[in-house]
């Protein structure tokens, strides 16, 4: 299926587009905009709120002009009051709305944590299922140009050990649209974390609304020698790494886990049973991150299939530095994944 593909470069995307007429290309940002617009159209209970969502930029284009199409009652700018606004959306969700709350940066989401953790995540359970919280929160990871410690964090890990929350991190335009649409119509709080550096990526996206199932990962590339599980932007790095490794005769399987909670560990285990080697590439820090969880699940359920210690590719244990000299050294990418794969292969 063309839309399950991750295009490592534009030329490849254009080649497929030319070959298969009728496929429509969309950027990641456009896919998000389209899902939002279609959700607003499909259900009048859907509304969108966020700081600056009606400004000319429209949150990097993902909410652009929606207030003009749907009116300020359904697409509204918000005061700077993250925890309050989150609680307001939680309350609205409990009362039957399907709010979509947008944070320009993941870094502003910690202000909302009380409402997310103590309220949204528990409201259904705590009242014996009497009420539910169909709330979606989008948050964007920044990177580069000295974004520094408070504007570039990948904070997904801290959301993963809260029962009641769902967390997705789409890597492709197709998944961005389908997961967002699924999230909005899910009856639970779903947090979708996007990487700003994916916004220009192109992919094939069907025009009609569709859902990508939350809780299902996907194999992006088949391979027999090692399993690379990646999330978000790191999926692209993993594909590039796998392509390069292939030149050395190493065939890596790349899994885009895309839904971090619930986590599709069956897919990973199935792959590791075949390859015996596991690498997890995260956009965030190592400790207690998605890598820790994935590796643990494999150790718990398929320990005997591991032929070498697993390796995590994650950020160094420090906040993001501003200086370009340090920022360059900070981020992980293709080469780190290649090194990690080789490291696991070096162990027989």
């Amino acid at each position: 299926m063309p839309w399950t593909k991750v295009y490592a470069n534009k030329a490849e995307f254009e080649k497929i587009s030319a070959e298969q007429k009728g496929l429509r290309g969309l950027t990641y940002r456009e896919a998000i905009l389209e899902a939002t617009e279609q959700a607003l159209t499909a259900d009048k209970n859907v509304f969108v709120i966020g700081e600056g969502i009606d400004d000319p930029g429209g949150v990097f284009g993902t909410t652009k002009d929606l207030h003009l199409k749907f009116g300020a009652d359904r697409v509204m700018d918000s005061p700077l009051a993250e925890n309050g606004i989150t609680g307001i959306t939680v309350g609205a969700a409990v009362a039957g709305a399907r709010p979509l709350l947008v944070h320009m940066r993941v870094d502003f989401l910690p202000l909302s944590l009380d409402q997310i953790i103590n309220h949204a995540a528990k409201w259904h359970y705590m009242f014996g299922g009497a009420v539910r919280v169909p709330l979606t929160i989008r948050a964007i990871i920044g990177r580069g140009w000295g974004s520094a410690a408070q504007h570039s964090q990948s904070l997904q890990a801290m959301l993963l050990n809260i029962p009641g929350l769902k967390v997705v991190m789409p890597a492709t335009p197709y998944d961005a649209k389908g997961l967002l649409y699924a999230a909005i119509f899910d009856n639970n709080p779903v947090i979708m974390i996007e990487h700003r550096w994916l916004y220009e990526h192109m992919g094939h996206v069907p025009a009609e609304p569709y859902k990508v199932e939350i809780g299902k990962g996907i194999v992006r590339r088949q391979g027999k020698d090692a399993t690379i599980v990646a999330i978000s932007l790191m999926v692209n790095e993993a594909i590039k790494a796998a392509d390069e490794l292939s030149k050395d005769g190493i065939e890596a399987e790349v899994i885009d886990i895309r839904s971090l909670k619930p986590l599709d560990s069956d897919l990973v285990i199935e792959s590791v049973k075949k390859t015996g080697r596991l690498i997890v590439a995260d956009t965030g820090w190592k400790d207690c991150g998605i890598g820790a969880e994935i590796i643990t699940r494999v150790v718990e359920d398929a320990f005997e299939s591991l032929r070498a210690p697993a390796v995590r590719v994650a950020l160094p244990e420090a906040p993001t530095p501003a200086s370009p000299a340090l920022e360059n050294a900070y981020y992980r990418g293709k080469n780190d994944i290649i090194a990690a794969v080789k490291k696991t292969l070096a162990r027989s």
């Binding site: 009051a81 000295g146 974004s147 410690a149 408070q150 501003a322 000299a325």
Partner: protein, 344 residues
């Protein structure tokens, strides 16, 4: 001498504050003028150099808003504390920071005030009492109450001033902090720089009442709204608030109305991007805090043209030295990546 580039002539505005000006010494008025001009020329240099793309960090400029930092900080001692936000260059300079460590920080250099780790949004100057700037809106407000609390507990004379925007006023942190400061009679000055916008959202799109200073009433604390482009008003408000703080009178809320000439971030103007009307900018440019005050100084004979030229020249060479220093400084070594994660 500071001249506005291609800007309409400034109309004389005989205001009560100007009459009051005679109360203030010439030395003080020159100090205030110099403080504002130092911020302006420093930031205009950033505007000029930013396109070189050597300053690889977002810059939030406060051109047009200088009077507030200058007027408030003139009432602070070196030992007094300041907290600020993403738009913090002016506060830092007004509190006494040298230009070199700031400029070097923007260039990501090891000699920067934060050793290149913070960038323009995260500047610090401990010897002059600037304990850091948070780029999380409202983040500095409770911290400022905390430093005021520490001063009180430790029996120190220091007071704290915190600068934040009209957007930060909407954060719960403001109310929680102000209540605590009022309750404990803490020596802290809340300075809300109301430039009417948070990014591209107008205050009216975010607040129904638009009466920031009135909120102090609920805490039985003084709240004043001043013309933030009038440095003497800012000075006077700061003086009253500082006196109150130093005499166990608790917090004061100062709302200072002003306007940011540049975009929310970066060196361009907003009307170029269609974010804000050009006419609005031009109206505010007429109210330039520096142009206005310069005119007053000339008219009252506190300064003459030659003196203005001399002050401008001195500041310009300080700016040039800072740029040279920043450009010539080394980048931090990669080994610095993992230092200072924890303190010893």
């Amino acid at each position: 001498m500071y001249t506005l580039n291609a800007m309409p002539a400034i109309k004389t505005q005989k205001k009560a504050a100007e009459k009051e000006a005679s109360v203030y010494s010439s030395a003080l008025q020159i100090q205030l003028y110099t403080a504002m001009l130092r911020i302006r020329l420093f930031e205009e240099k950033i505007v000029a150099l930013y396109p070189e793309q050597e300053m690889k960090c977002p810059v939030h400029l406060c051109i047009g808003q200088e009077a507030i930092a200058a007027g408030i900080c003139a009432n602070l001692e070196k030992r007094d504390y300041v907290f600020s936000n993403h738009r913090g260059h002016g506060h830092s300079l007004a509190k006494g920071a040298g230009m070199k460590p700031l400029m070097a920080e923007f260039y990501g250099k090891a000699t920067g005030c934060s050793k290149g780790k913070g960038g323009s949004m995260h500047i610090v100057d401990v010897p002059n009492g600037l304990l850091g700037t948070s780029a999380i809106v409202g983040g500095g407000i409770p911290m400022a109450v905390g430093s005021a609390l520490a001063s009180k507990i430790r029996g120190e004379q220091s007071i704290t001033a915190v600068f934040f925007g009209d957007g930060a006023f909407e954060e719960g942190a403001f109310y929680e902090s102000f209540n605590f400061a009022a309750l404990k009679r803490l020596p802290v000055i809340f300075v809300c720089e109301n430039n009417f916008y948070a990014t591209n959202s107008h205050q009216r799109a975010r607040q129904f009442a638009c009466k920031i200073s009135s909120s102090a009433v609920a805490f039985d604390a003084p709240g004043v709204c001043i013309d933030g482009n009038d440095v003497l008003s800012a000075y006077k408000a700061g003086k009253d608030a500082a006196q109150r703080a130093r005499n166990n009178g608790g917090p004061t809320l100062i709302e200072a109305t002003t306007y940011r000439w540049k975009g929310h971030v970066g060196p361009d103007t907003d009307h170029e991007k269609g974010c804000r009307p050009k006419d609005e900018l031009l109206e505010w440019v007429k109210k330039c805090p520096i142009g206005r005050f310069e005119k007053h100084l000339l008219e009252t004979g506190i300064l003459d043209a030659n003196a203005l030229i001399a002050i401008t020249g001195e500041i310009n060479s300080e700016v040039d030295d800072a740029v040279k220093f920043a450009k010539e400084s080394p980048y931090p070594d990669v080994s610095e990546l993992l230092t200072q994660v924890y303190s010893d």
